[in-house]
Symmetry: C2
């Protein structure tokens, strides 16, 4: 499940080709077995884990860079992305530990200098279908895998704060727009959707009231199918009604749980 990427990926000697002082960090959320998951990478075995990220090419829009970076890590095209905050403190990557990691690395001196510059991070969150993503390493990336949101390891820099802000942004998203299309498989049960809401909001939601509310929103189509191979009454399957979902996504205002 962690093949080395055969997509183009940053080459050590080449960091100076990117726009200086800027990076993109992505909080990639997935949903699996009733757990909210986050994709993390590890640059080297001795460094703490970090959010997947990368840099911006001179002739590439910021959104396109974020998309490219995530495509390299997941093999997915068409990722749902939202830019949620800038992390622009002067010394956010300037810890002694980080300097040491960089200086001790195999990178050429020019790339070391480049990485040691003050860096402003553009924070994105991404919502993706866990089952379709292929966590993918690269020459500079030793490991890339999903973590339970409750069990994230030590993270470098200010990545703990970035993740925290992303979770807050995700909550705000949920309260203002529909959510789920990007995180769930095409067909899902009402309970799976509810669990997703519960885990993002970190509170339990009444089963019947949730169903009433979601159905009233009109973004769900009930299928003629049920989920089988469960050791209890076969639950109905739903899918999202694209048109209505999109409409509410753009309206932006006034859901709320």
């Amino acid at each position: 499940m962690q093949p080395t990427s055969d997509l183009p990926s940053p080459r050590p000697e080449n960091l100076a080709k990117y726009l200086p002082h800027l990076s993109i960090d992505c909080c990639v959320f997935g949903f699996h077995e009733n757990q909210l998951k986050i994709l993390l990478i590890q640059w080297q075995s001795i460094t703490p884990w970090s959010l997947p990220g990368g840099f911006i090419l001179p002739n590439e829009s910021v959104d396109a860079a974020a998309k490219r970076i995530l495509q390299e890590r997941t093999s997915l095209k068409d990722i749902y992305l939202e830019q949620f905050k800038i992390f622009g403190e002067v010394n956010r990557t300037n810890s002694p530990e980080n300097r040491k990691y960089i200086l001790d690395s195999d990178l050429p001196a020019s790339s070391k200098d480049w990485l040691l510059q003050r860096t402003i991070s553009l924070g994105y969150y991404a919502l993706i279908d866990f089952s379709k993503a292929m966590p993918t390493t690269a020459p500079l990336i030793q490991d890339c895998r999903w973590w339970d949101i409750q069990e994230v390891p030590l993270l470098i820099h200010d990545h703990p704060q970035i993740l925290q802000q992303a979770r807050r942004a995700l909550q705000l998203h949920l309260l203002n727009k529909p959510l789920g299309y990007n995180l769930l498989p095409e067909k899902f049960t009402m309970t799976e959707l509810r669990r997703l809401y519960e885990i993002i909001l970190d509170k339990s939601i009444d089963r019947r009231n949730f169903e009433k509310k979601m159905l009233k929103l009109g973004i769900l189509d009930r299928l003629e199918e049920v989920k089988t191979n469960v050791s209890y009454k076969a639950p109905l399957l739903y899918k999202f009604n694209q048109a209505k979902y999109q409409e509410l996504l753009e309206a932006d205002f006034g859901l709320g749980f």
Copy 2:
């Protein structure tokens, strides 16, 4: 009302001291005579108007840069600022008109080159007390003044889109957090507060229901005073209850009009 600034301001020969490829653009909102106002500047008499903006120093956080830039334009410290979006299209400032403005300007060649680079803009909105702000020009800024939000002139680059997004962010702010402390004078009437909400949401709100709702939120203290010198029944004055206001601001969720 438009004194030339005696604060430090960008000097033409010096643009290269800023971080390259990055700018900050601010949508500064004020409220006056029942109108939402926005502060705009004009670099030269022939250029379109633009949002006040500036650049980031190497040893300055992004938020601090935004604060400094706005302090230069308004003489205000302690401005309420929110970063709301990044504008990162490759050619967003690369129009023939803009190239011409830059090349025809009095700037030294090095600064012209610097300005012609591809620039990513970090979008902020600011909420300020109209009556306390002093729109302030500078050597490079020919004019700086308030405009009615309904009558903004032609704007350069993608500033129309930035403004539009800022207004949307402001609406979202209003629906999720208390708003008004930064835009209104210390003492204000319920109607002034309501007009502010109406103009931001672009819809009318029932006078009695609005009052009930605001009072129930608990963020207002009714004063023993009334507003005088009006040719109608003297309205009661209110001020914000700091503690409660701050609490709701941090809670972030669940107002809504």
